[in-house]
């Protein structure tokens, strides 16, 4: 399994250049059965990463470009009257897939954003009173532009909470950018990618995440972290139990990627910004949660 994981990482790394950490984080997110939110400026490789992940994992991939006039039916599907048969027939939308890339999700109205809620949480959609299960596995990889950009609707907290991780890619290093210039177009290379993971193998990896052990000492640390967000004055509100569980699950996936059967505090600290960053908000007006997460990490004693 370990060689398989490193194989996947290697494949993705070849296309998304110089973004080792982000690639591993997004893989950890998928292994932990969580949805991923990638936040960055346009053109930073968000879509490439998402597409690449889907392809390598051998999953059915759909992409929805969110616009301000996008309606829920456009994502979920719609029932159309078939004149010959005299019945309404359901035409499934793009959500019926395994990896859904919701591009620029914050460009659409909240109504459309919330259409994704049920799909993300329950793994099913309900249209016209009928629940329809989504295929398994089901990942949403959403990208969004920074909120400061014009024409964006901020995602509500409830929806943000449904993403296991939020990462940003950032500008590439000069060396990787040079390689990008010199190399073949990434899109062409994605097309050439072949799946290297079967469906069963992916399930096995996801099951292995749950087998990673968290000792009492480590759980103490996680609890201290959570308690700090709830008591410290810089936080407007603390982490929910779901947030705490998410932190633990993401850290386990991270430990698995690094071939460990047990958690160490470093795992928690590494996934901390990605998991906690979009779940907390400071008391000030700043939307940027990075200093807040850093404050959290630096203030809580690792050893008790």
């Amino acid at each position: 399994m370990q060689s398989l994981i490193s194989n996947i990482i290697q494949q993705v790394d070849q296309i998304v250049l110089g973004k080792d950490q982000q690639v591993r984080l997004s893989l950890a997110c998928l292994f932990a059965e969580g949805h991923l939110l990638i936040e960055d400026l346009p053109g930073m490789g968000k879509t490439t990463l998402a597409h690449c992940l889907a392809k390598v994992l051998g999953l059915k991939f759909e992409r929805v470009q969110f616009t301000s006039d996008l309606l829920p039916a456009d994502i979920l599907g719609v029932a159309i009257f078939e004149r010959e048969q005299g019945v309404f027939k359901f035409h499934p939308g793009p959500v019926f897939t395994q990896v859904l890339l919701a591009d620029e999700i914050n460009r659409s109205s909240p109504k459309t954003q919330s259409a994704l809620l049920e799909a993300m949480e329950e793994g099913q959609v309900t249209i016209e009173g009928k629940s329809r299960p989504l295929p398994k596995p089901f990942f949403v990889i959403a990208t969004q532009n920074p909120l400061s950009q014009s024409g964006t609707f901020p995602l509500p907290e409830s929806q943000l909470d449904r993403f296991l991780m939020r990462i940003s890619l950032g500008y590439p290093s000069p060396a990787s950018e040079r390689m990008l210039f010199e190399g073949v177009d990434p899109r062409a290379r994605i097309r050439q990618l072949t799946p290297i993971v079967t469906h069963e193998q992916l399930s096995a990896i996801q099951a292995a995440v749950h087998q990673v052990k968290a000792s009492d000492s480590l759980l103490d640390y996680v609890q201290r972290l959570v308690a700090f967000t709830r008591s410290d004055t810089q936080f407007a509100y603390g982490l929910s139990p779901r947030g705490a569980l998410a932190l633990l699950r993401a850290a386990k996936a991270w430990a698995l990627i690094h071939n460990r059967e047990y958690l160490v505090p470093e795992d928690v600290q590494t996934v901390l910004p990605a998991v906690v960053g979009h779940r907390v908000r400071g008391r000030g007006h700043s939307q940027d949660s990075e200093p807040l997460v850093k404050h959290l990490r630096d203030s809580v004693n690792v050893l008790g």
Binding site: S217, Y262, L263, V264, P265, V300, V302, L303, G304
Partner: protein, 670 residues
Amino acid sequence: MLAKPWRPRLTPSGKPPKQAEYLARDKLAWLLVMQAMLILPLLFNLPFWLWLVWAITAFWRTQMFRGRWGTPGSLVKTLLALICAGGLFASYAGKTGTETMVGLLVCAFSLKLLEVNSGRDAQLLLFIGFIITATQFLFSQTPQAAAYALLCVVLLLASWRSLYLTHAQSTGMRFKRGGMILLHALPIMLVLFVVIPRLGPLWAIPNQQAAKTGFSDSLSPGDLGNLALDRSPAFRVGFADQPPPVNQLYWRGLVLDTFDGRTWRMRDTWGVQSRAPNDDKAIKRELTDYSIIVEPHGQPWLFSLMTAQRVENTSNSIRITADSLLMNRIPVAQRMRYQVSSALQIEWPEPPQLNKLQRDNYTRLPRDSNPQTRALAESWRSQNLGDAQIIAQALALFNREFTYTLQPPLLGQHSVDEFLLTTKRGFCEHFSSAFAFLLRAAGIPARVVVGYQGGRWNPVENYLLVSQSDAHAWTEVWIEGTGWQMIDPTAAVAPNRIQQGMNEALGESDQQLVANAWRSSKLLYNLQLRWDAATYTWQRWVLNYDSEAQEGLLSRLLGGTETWRITLWLIGLGLVGAGLFAWALLRNQKGALLRPETKAVKKLEQKLAQLGYRRKTGETLGDFIHRVLYSEPQLKNGLTQIAQLFEQVAYQNRPEQLPQLQQAVKQFPR
């Protein structure tokens, strides 16, 4: 006992419920139980109808709670108070003593219950309760009484706490919390007990006349036999050094020197019958120092070994009579402690003399009594035997023909004649009486001494317990050239009585008799020993802790008794206590919950801090060690090992590696 939600209830008359119902059920129950416990020991010493007063008020208060009866009006209350006061007046015939006053307090305590409507009233009741608890000590100061009082205080504190409880709590928990409060106060209590100046009693405790126990100031046949079954302690003796051998342990109480044919009596006055024994010229040998704690026996006399030279007690109320006996100024109504120094042997440089009057006194016999004994003595005298030979003759007579028994036949008018010549069975008073009579008849000065002989050694606390059953009578004979000499005719008959105690000296039927009274199993015997030792310690360290003992203890503990010294020590103790408390608080907050592996790492951090490296709060141990190794690569081996071990113990659930981790930290940086 769970608090039930309070539900308003209408009185039968349809009026809204009285204030009285506002005390919740469980709080009232606690108050009632508390009151019952507190006054229970007092009621044994007070008139029986006080039980009734409490029972009636308790019932009334319960009915008030249930809404059946109303709150008594002021007329009823006044009437009740008057009835109680009148009852007390009648019971004590107008005397105002301790018991009357305590009775009044108990009445007030009981009646107050009718007025308890709110938590505030209940609090007042509790305050009276504390005073009531203190009054328990007016009647008994034994360790049991103290334990009971302690229990009462716990109950009071628990009830007090219960008044403010807003939620249900189990009875055990309430007791536990009440006990905790007391436990917190205990150190302060101890310190105050030790250092608070001991004033003499501000008032005497009157009418505490102890019932007279033990022997009386006269001795007729059968008197001491009754005491043989009485196991209650008479007094306890602690020796400064080794105790004297058991055959020297004759605790003299009284000298009886007048005989009327049947009964030996003490002369009316404590006069100067013989010359003072503590003559300056006398050479005292085998001086023995001991201290005695005597149980109240309602008589003025106290006990000492022959011959008491010096006696001390705190109130200096004891003096030594001419017969070397100890006499207290007033009858002993409370336990008291005194120190005696006795000379077991005295040698006189020139032979002591009895004057004519004394000699007459000690040889006087009633004219017509016991003619046969007289004849016997005179026959000895006429054989031209010397004093020593006559004494030997008499002892030999006892030894040959007499039996020691607790069930002697009854004796008539000429008791000595009947005993000596007919029954020949008797107890120590028969022997001593007959012996003294014989000698007096032969013209040798002799007297009967009553007291105690022997005692049981308590190895737990190293003291001698002398019980009532050790009561004994023996004789003292005037030997020309030596003075008064103790001679115990009982020893001639039943040497075991002296050597091992009475039980061994008795025949089978007597043993049966005694066994029912006090012979018990080995375990019970040991328990008895321990319990008595506890009583002795209690008496010695708590009840006898007077100003003198305090001074002694303080100067031993603190090196002096000056005020500044005590103040300084108190402040010091307070600071130490506060420091300990603060330390415990901090420790609880910081360290007590740390896992052992974390403690080990803290030690490592201390060592690295000396090198100038400090782990940041949010830094993992691995990151920290990495940072240290960057500039201190020579520590690589030790630190990497520790990091690995810590990871194994803390995160891989391998606690078996803990000793290795601790060892590695200990050895670091070598």
